[in-house]
Structure formats: structure tokens, C-alpha cells
Amino acid sequence: MQYFSNAGGAVVVRRMIETIRAHKDYLGEIDGRIGDGDHGINMSKGFTLAGERIGPADGFSSSIRILSQVLLLEIGGSMGPLYGSFFKAFFKLSKDTEKITAPLFLAMLESGTAVVKELGGAEVGDKTLVDTLTPAIAAFKEALANDRSFQDALVACVKAAAAGKDSTKEMLAKIGRSARLGERSRGVLDAGAVSSFLILDAMAQQISEIMQSD
């Protein structure tokens, strides 16, 4: 069965951090079209801070906890509580486990997304990160149900995440700052949908690189 090592998994978190930092301006630009343009700044600030605090002794769980705490305690905005709670679920479910397998990863995704939906009140179709996360989880789950490998499930997951993210383009925003733009919110991707795609993609790529089997 495929897994990745919790002890060696800090790189997964680091990979997310790099990706968000690299896309700071892009995320700001997308948010700027129908929001207030600060999504890149908010995200990059939190992820950078977390990056500075993750030490050589940290594994996946403790690294993602650091990220979660920075977001929750020091970032604010919408993304602080949403992503903070999202990653907190990853920490909670993985903290006592050394081998992170596909079913555990699925559970983390599901739990994190449930908290995001509960806290923010967003459903699929509202033009938020939920539109990326929900189909991504479904694809991952389906792959597992079809006895595909962790690796394959990640590929399916990212593919669905990309489609989910793209689906926000033609949606009418129903939540957040752009919620009342009506028709004017169409034709533009949602910033949170994009950042959550980037996060899933970065995780999947890095997990693939450190994937082990037993």
C-alpha cells in the first residue's frame, strides 16, 4: 500500500508554501477583478511566516499545524479562518500516525472541507474554494473505491480540482466580497478556488515525489 512518511512530510507543506509565494501576484490579480485584490498578499504573508517557523525537526503534521496556527492567529481575512481550519483538520487526523495513506488523506480532505463549508456557509456553485475542493475529494474517493493507488487518486484529484476551479469562471458569485456583483462576477475565476487548486496540486506533486510503498 502506498503512503508517505509523516516524519519526512514537511516537504509537502514546504511545497505548498513555495507555490503560494510564487503565485502571489497572480492571486492578487484574480481577486482584484471582482474582489479587493488582497488574496495574494494575505495568502503569501501567512504561508511565508509559516515557512520561516517550520524547523528541521518538523514532520508533515507539525508543519501543517504551524501553517494552520499562523493562518488562524495571525492572518485574519477570510482565508485565515478558512484555510486555518482546513489545515487544522489535517493536523488533527494525522498527528498520531507515521504512515499517511490514501484513506487517511481522504479523511483529512473531507474533514477539512467540511469545516470550511460549515464556517463559511458556502456550497458548490457559490464561486468559492468549495468548488475546487468538493469535486477534488469526490474524484479522490472514487479512485479509491475503484481500487486505484494513492498516486492515481492524487492525479484524479488534481484533475478534478482543476476542472472545479475552472467551473467557477462562469459562476455568479454568491458569497464573499463579490457576492453581489451579479452578472459582473461572471467570466472571472474565483481567487480562493484558484489558490485551493494550487495547494492541492502542490501537495499531490510533492507527495508523489516522496511516495513509498509497503
Partner: protein, 332 residues
Amino acid sequence: MQRIINNPDNLVDEMVAGFSLAHSDLIAPTANPRVLKYKAAPVPGKVGVVTGGGSGHKPAFIGYLGRNMLDAVAVGEIFSSPTAKSFYDAIKAADAGRGVAVLYGNYSGDNMNVKMARGEADDDGIVVKTVVANDDVASAPVTERHKRRGVAGEVLMWKVGGAKAALGGSLDEVIAVAQKAIDQTRSVGIGLTPCTIPAVGKPNFTIAPGTMEVGIGHHGEPGIRVEALKSADEMAKLCLDLILPDLPFAGGDEVVVLVSGLGATPVSELYVFYRKVAEILGAKNIRVVRPYVGNYFTSLEMTGVTLTLMKLDAELKALIELPADAVAFKQF
């Protein structure tokens, strides 16, 4: 970007530091650098009144800390909700044992962060109740008022809630009257030029010269429509046409009027605008009991104006009239 800043990442911290230094007669820092409090808070025996929000709306939010107004404020990044921790620390800074009213604006970040802060405060046994301002008529139809944003009407909500708390009201009474205040309040804004978040470095929206954006949000969220730029008188009429039927306001009503600039509009122009507002209300026999004209709730260096009306009953009127001493709101 022609700004008076250092590293944009430090802007909020340096602004808070300068504010604390300048107003130490009224304001005190707390252990959390993103929470400021009224010097005398927690005021023994008084319900705490708290708010918070993104920075860039000076004098909101910290300018309303003071006697008979706010006890503590959570400070966010520019146009970004404060952290849950800051809201939580603000609640603790304001709590004198009679509970804390968090009176804030309807933005998804603020909703979430207040919710999480409230959860923490619950664990400490602090009773927290909230009122969510949603006075901006342009941000959703009246049938979906819960979706509307809070804008300059928040100032009047704080005034009323702060006054009720100062007069010894219980938490439930403070909450009830702050809710009534915002329920009786309607606002709308017109944007004429965009603003730039210093860390972003360029405006994230545009308003073409010769046009104006009706119903613009306090963070540059696009308005309900873009029109050719109108005269001040026409703008006043247009704003009232959006506000008056919404509550509705009617002849015989007594109101508070608040005209706030969005930052870069010369204050003289706000008076030109107010002149017409007063004239139209007078013609409709709506009596302005108290007008406020100035930069009460801004959006960095955006050009434009927001108009807010609150319909008074005897209770609201008395609470509005109570003296207050805040940096940006001195009434004696």
C-alpha cells in the same frame, strides 16, 4: 504610488503605533499589537462594546474608541478582517463581567473571525452577543438584507450601542438597541476614483474618468451600476432615491444624516452634497435632527461619498444625543 509609508507590510503596525502615541489621553495599547482599547476599559459595571475590521477606513474603526463609544477594537490588515485571535483579545479587553457586544460589519471574513473568537470567549465564560451591520442598500435587494454589507451606518450603530452600554444597559438591551439602530439605517455610496492597497501597488479596479460607480463598496467592490458622472445635486437625489424607499423613510420622520467622504474628496464638496440632501429631505418633511458631515468611514484615497440615514424613535434619539468622546467623534 504617491504615499507616505515605509514598508507596506508594516503599514498597519506603524499606523497603530502612531495612533497610540498621538492619542494616549484616550487610547491604550494592549498586549496584542492588533488590539487597541479605550483607556478606561474594561469600564467597571459596563457591558463591553467591541468592533473590528480591516484597516484603510480611518477614522474607522479605532477612531471610535472612547468614552460612551467603543471599548476595544480588533485591527486587521488593509481591507482584511482582523484575526479571530484579535477579536478574542478585544473581547477580553472590553469585558467587565457584564458581557460584550460585538457590533461589526457584514463581511465574510469578519463573520468567520468573530464566530471563532466568540467560541473562544464562550470557553472563558464571557457572554458575547453580536449585531451585524448591513446598512448598504446597494449590496443586495431588501428581501435579502442579511446579505448586505455594513458601511458608514456602523458609526451610528456604535454610537447608539456605546451610549446604551454607558447608561448601564444590560447586554441584551445593548444588543437590542444596536440591532434596532442598524435596522433603521440605510446607506449608499458613490465612487469616483479607485484606491490602491499599498502592498498591491496599483488600483485593483478602475472608474473611468467621466463616470461614477453607484453603490460602490468600501473596498472598491463594484457598485450596482456605472453611470455618467453627475452633478452634486443629482448625486444627492440619486442616493436618496435609493435610500428613502428602502426603509422606507416618510414625511414626519426624524432622522440622523451622515455624509462621509471616501477619503480623497475635499470636505467642501461633502457640504455641497449635504446642502442638496437637506433641501430634498426638507421638501419631504423629513426632519434632520443631527447631521454629521466629514470623513467618518473612508476607503484609503478613494474619491466619492456615502450617504447614511437613520430613522429615529425616542430611544435612538436620546442615545444619539448622549455626549461621546472618541478621537473621531466628539460630541458634548
